[in-house]
Symmetry: C2
Subunit: 614 residues, 2 copies
């Protein structure tokens, strides 16, 4: 198996051309001298969690933000790193593959070699298993040649999703020590970056010199917070899926006889479904977050879809396209409760065949109501993160089944007078995940790879490489790093009145913000999308010519430049300090004091009210 | 419903750019003067069918080939058409949508208007139903604006597949008379073009002045013969599907734990599956034509796949990608026999629930052996062309199911010692059919639209517009038209010893040629594809820059320039005539006579042996 990793391979014409594409670097990373500015010590977004997180991460909590600036940047307290000894770095792909992953390796290798040609980059083969077993491949430009700007994780492979148990953490520690690594780069999503934070803490405690750096790479787009605007792979996945959704929309409108139910990959959250809707304008999307917020039952959702079908039939339209995120099934309260019961029984070792009889009466009634194919899929053993096997549960077929049954009922009762309802179901996931990455993802991953080097050069541990201001061109991107602990939160689980248990601090998938601008755009257009068939085809991913530089709608509409705004605030504070210096008038001082006292009071109140991220 | 056809709509950035793309015309069609050369009278590919076809088409059989040449071309007997009265033409989308269809309309409109601005083009709304009901939309450049170079058939829509019954043919005749049409253009595949031929004959007989012209537009790529090299839509479908297949290959290689079984659209024949294999290099493809030729049973196919899985496991490979054409299920002899029994019973009105008990013992045994989901799908009512509902039968799931069962059995028996076999199934069809057409399909359809005009201007009836030499750039394409009857054949059905019935003359889907060059390329590489994971990603469809002009592999490897070779032959004959003129030496005459007598003898023998196309 391993012998095949990193082998050179035959590329298609387009793949070859892509392998020659050279992403640009933001000005601050050009050349060999980079200035690092450290910001204030970080906290956690939810102050009520800060204490718990700080206790779990005594060595790595509360570290400052880092910004990378041009050597010539005129910033107080920023330091230029001039010492670049040769270092040894390991990199590992964790979790599910996401387009662009290879470019993180490329960017990192390039930065390493520019600063010291003797530095070594080792890729772990087969993901975390390769890390534990110390199976490596030394990355060179030759190895990379046919993997630059290419999709998949096949240069190194990936297997297990976790670095979590004591044995696993110890194996990672042993590997880093044995291989004398100065740095370990973990490429992955929410789970893998949580693991990276714990690993960093363990390494610090064990006085292991290896610094751990995380990179936000996940097609789900759910590793989103104040420091991280989007993830490597999300742009590509949304573009490839939107192309296919749009093709299906065109097909629906041409044949005029089918409703297409399309389920999209993206795990628990609905970022992919939202973005694809904004790109393709299908008739309807049902976001998991909406269902959870409104506590919609399976019957409510079915009714919504049926009412839509009926309203369209009244306009003589018998076709349509409905999108569902794969996480929808878990967001439906009664199904979630049923899944929880099933998972408890499965973990107790009850065999799938016997579960039905051991469910609570209520759960059993729901279970028996569902069609057999869904029952089988709900009985699958849960994933390592406790969620159901979302990619295996055909929610689109379930909804199509329920809608058909309800439309037939309405037809019989005479409340619906249109033509027979016909559905075709699709799951779009695997066919997008291995795609050639979009230009945006190529650039984003490549620059993140460079940033990883500078994080290590600055001696930082437990950080995530970050880029912000991404909706602007590459030369405006801001490069930095944030402690992973600053992105963590703690989940509380209620067990009846008064009783509560607390989860371990972790990164949690960021839900679609139902108050955010992207969702607002969706809601404003939902009526038109539903009735008017304003389908829009963004077309296949383009690499050349016009269209190649399009970015995700949700990335562009949100005001995400958190770091930019922190900077702006600091400028205000600096201005006040400059104006109010010893020697200024009493009036100026009085006005400043009064204004600042009211500002601080407002902010204290706001900070305490606790804005939990999920 | 109708009010939505042809409405202007919002296009994405890329769609807008595509709508501005202007395909090129071959030199012979540039300007306003085109020369028409008529070739010899045509015959049928299978001489044994010629008599039957000529009896069915007394008015339209045996017409000559037409070639369109530059006005300045130096060709004997070619005539320049100088009279271009204003004419009225109708156009109708028949059968399943195929990318590029809209461009036929565009090319036709342009040619009409160039030659006489008063000419009128009417599009029938909702396919053949619109034709029968005389529902039309006058096509103008404004109507076309947002449909140029766009996918789908949504500008006009399509509903029924047929113009076959006496009522339908009469309705079409009445429509053409009422609308005073000089020409009717039928856009479609094998079935629709057969209908076009019958319509042309009926019109000729009824002395209706409307000339009927067919255009080969079908994503199946199965309308292939001496005159037609490929069909509009095939290139796009293969490219979009190959992109997705390649993405899945990359995914398989990254995760290393799944076998993907992918079923592809394409009806009875396997052209799409073959072309996609040549573009993407998946591990395995099972062509319907191979299965039919070798009379492989379901068990043979399962065994083949299992042996492949086992051979790969011995190299520690637990992933793979296997392609199946949707027509595979009908090509398996025992399943075909079962389907025939089921269809007979369904047509007799036996309800699906009762069919199992009325099958012959042998068919019943097979039926009961199959998993329930496939049983349900086999019981679906057959299509109008007598085939099963191929897009609804999940052959990929059936094969994955059988392979899994067999691998588990081998594991238990100890003959297989590898890891557990895991399959994921996909059907790629609807998500490709509505795609933006590739540059090739845009050009091909647009030029065919122009050719349609010249066919009408030449007063031809019952012809198909044709372009050949397509593997070369547009300026080398040859424009012509061939009588549809010359592409027809007759199917014979055996009913026991001596008894035989004969079908109606029709176009039949051309099977993949197992002696052809494209198939040879596949066979030469099959071993490498199977074991070495030489996956290749042609990438998403490009419209700009390098990669945009790639053509289908199977189009490029085959020697298809039939018309070019007919021309070459005529040049030889002409040369002989020039050399052997009264006054030449006795020796020359003797040599010529002897050589030509042996040539004619060989050709007579060859022609009589009957090279039936299917």
């Amino acid at each position: 198996m391993d012998s095949d990793f990193g082998i050179e391979r035959e590329l298609s014409h387009l793949q070859k051309l892509r392998s020659l594409y050279q992403p640009e670097l933001p000005p601050c990373l050009q050349g060999t001298t980079v200035r690092v500015e450290f910001g204030d010590a970080t906290t956690a977004a939810d102050p009520s969690c800060a204490h718990i997180i700080s206790r779990s991460f005594p060595h790595t909590y509360g570290q400052p933000l880092a910004h990378f600036l041009r050597a010539t940047a005129n910033v107080q307290d920023a330091q230029i790193i001039t010492d670049h000894p040769s270092i040894r770095v390991g990199i590992v792909f964790c979790g599910r593959q996401s387009p662009g992953g290879h470019n993180v390796i490329w960017g990192l290798l390039e930065a390493l070699k520019i600063h010291n040609p003797d530095s070594i980059l080792l890729g772990f083969l087969g993901g975390s298993e390769g890390l534990f077993a110390q199976k490596t491949l030394q990355i060179t430009d030759d190895v990379l040649a046919t993997y630059k700007n290419q999709g998949g994780y096949d240069m190194l492979g990936r297997t297990k999703d976790q670095i979590r148990t004591t044995e696993q953490v110890n194996a990672a520690l042993a590997a880093c020590k044995a291989l004398k690594l100065d740095g370990l780069i973990i490429v992955g999503g929410v789970t893998s970056n949580s693991d990276a934070a714990y690993l960093a803490e363990t390494f610090a405690q064990a006085k292991c010199p290896t610094k751990v750096v995380g990179v936000p790479v996940t097609l789900n787009g759910d590793l989103k917070n104040q420091f991280v605007e989007t993830n490597v792979g999300f742009d590509t996945i949304c573009k490839v899926n939107s192309q296919l959704i749009s093709n299906v929309c065109t097909d629906a409108l041409s044949a005029e006889k089918y409703y297409y139910f399309i389920r999209l990959m993206g795990r628990k959250t609905s970022h992919v479904a939202l973005e694809c809707t904004l790109q393709s304008h299908p008739n309807m999307v049902i976001l998991a977050e909406e269902v959870a917020a409104s506590k919609l039952t399976l019957f409510d959702i079915t009714k919504q879809a049926c009412d839509a079908v009926q309203a369209r039939a009244e306009q003589d339209k018998y076709h349509g396209v409905i999108l569902l995120p794969e996480g929808l099934i878990e967001s439906i309260p009664e199904v979630y409760a049923l899944l929880k019961e099933i998972h408890v029984l499965l973990r107790e070792g009850v065999s799938a065949d016997n579960i039905s009889s051991q469910l609570s009466p209520w759960a059993s009634a729901l279970f028996e109501f569902l069609p057999p194919f869904i029952r089988r899929e709900l009985l699958l053993y849960p994933e390592s993160d406790d969620s159901a096997q979302l990619s295996q549960i055909e929610t689109e077929k379930l909804l199509a089944f329920l809608v058909e049954a309800e439309m037939n009922k309405r037809l019989k009762e005479g409340t619906y007078k249109g033509k027979k309802f016909n559905a075709i179901c699709h799951f779009f996931g695997y066919q997008a995940r291995g795609s050639l990455p979009s230009k945006f993802d190529c650039d984003y991953a490549y620059v993140l790879g460079h940033v990883c080097y500078h994080v290590l050069a600055a001696g930082l541990n437990g950080y995530m490489a970050t880029l912000t201001n991404l909706k602007n061109p590459v030369n405006k991107w801001r490069c930095g790093a944030a402690p992973i602990t600053a992105m963590m939160s703690v989940r509380r689980f209620g067990h009846g009145p008064g009783a509560e248990s607390i989860g371990k601090p972790a990164l949690h998938p960021a839900a679609v913000d139902l108050k955010g601008k992207a969702y607002k755009v969706l809601r404003q257009n939902a009526g038109k999308f539903l009735m008017d068939d304003v389908y829009r085809n963004p077309g296949p991913l383009q690499f050349d010519g016009p269209g190649a530089d399009t970015k995700a709608v949700s990335l562009c509409v949100e005001d995400q430049d958190y770091m930019g705004r922190i900077k702006q605030l600091q400028e205000y504070l600096e201005k006040v300090r400059t104006i109010v210096k010893p020697g200024c008038s009493q009036d100026v001082l009085k006005a400043a004091l009064s204004a600042m006292s009211s500002v601080t009071e407002i902010l204290s109140v706001l900070s305490c009210s606790g804005n939990a991220p999920f």
